[in-house]
Symmetry: C2
Subunit: 160 residues, 2 copies
DNA sequence: TGACTCATGTCAGGATTCTGACATAGGTTG
DNA sequence: CAACCTATGTCAGAATCCTGACATGAGTCA
């Protein structure tokens, strides 16, 4: 179907490859999480809470790369199903610190082994040197993209 | 807000970093495409058609990492607005080869310079060696993820 | 030839996510 | 203190995308 022999520079674009890799990772994670009745955002939320207990709704949203509205409905579901708990009143400000329940922790453990297998498969065939190089390169990309996304292109940034 | 001093291994996870980088890239692309009234999928479709004229709806969908239903409604819009053309009848099979109109090509040119600036910003601070390493590593990830996503975990695969 | 399988285009319905908006809490600055 | 700004939680509506389904065309194989 439609000779791909043209072979243009789509495969040499780092942006396209980044999207392709991210898409493949998401698909693989969805495949292993589906049997557990869990979505990727679902899992991300639980994993974030396990590693940083007491995160607020907005912080979880930033960590899972969704809007705080989306995270809010997810948290409401998780709370109703007994996987997380939030205090009825904010101890300070308006932020409600969220925590995993024992049930949530058990649910997460199942998912963690599934997701870890995906990450191990992704890293298969890469040397330790390549893995650390990948870490450094991806961090560089994130940093460069965030730098100029809001106005000043290449300016020193003050405070943080 | 919520001391991040805990510092767990979220920042050392290649999967998380991959998602973070992809999310940052998408946000940056949306930011520069919005003034042109164009979405990322919109642009991806036009770019694919420029590099591989005559792609079908399903092929475009795979190239842009969306379902063919999603790409179909996008193509219908683009066709109505005069950016692409599709024959009324399929020359062979059911696939309708899609092509850019001159109007579509002009629209794409604007977007291309905007997107290229984002990609250049993303690559800023990386050496040529690092860029080729990134290409190789990302390709490896995609390949490893796709390999075991459908059944056989670590088996030899026959005929491609 | 006929049955089977696969890919494609398309329609309809539902699920997910986002955009817009509002009220409130806390910090900052005059 | 008062005005302002930022961040947060939450509600409502809209946009986006996907899942399910159907009919059709082409290739495969007995």
């Amino acid at each position: 179907m439609s000779q791909n022999g043209v072979g243009v520079d789509l495969e040499t674009s780092l942006g396209y490859l980044l999207k392709e890799a991210s898409s493949a990772l998401r698909a693989a994670m969805e495949a292993v999480l589906r049997p557990l009745g869990m979505s990727v955002t679902h899992y991300s939320c639980l994993e974030l809470l396990a590693q940083r207990p007491g995160l607020s709704n907005s912080e979880l949203a930033r960590g899972a790369f969704v809007t705080r509205q989306t995270m809010n409905v997810l948290l409401q579901n998780l709370e109703r199903e007994g996987y997380v708990t939030r205090p009825a009143e904010a101890p300070v400000g308006k932020a409600l610190p969220t925590r995993l329940t024992p049930s949530g922790r058990r649910s997460l453990e199942e998912a963690t082994v599934a997701v870890r297998s995906v990450e191990l498969r992704m890293l298969a065939g890469m040397t330790e040197t390549e893995r650390s190089a990948a870490l450094r390169i991806l961090r560089s990309m994130v940093h460069s993209l965030r730098d100029g996304s809001d106005g000043a292109p290449l300016q020193e940034r003050r405070k943080a």
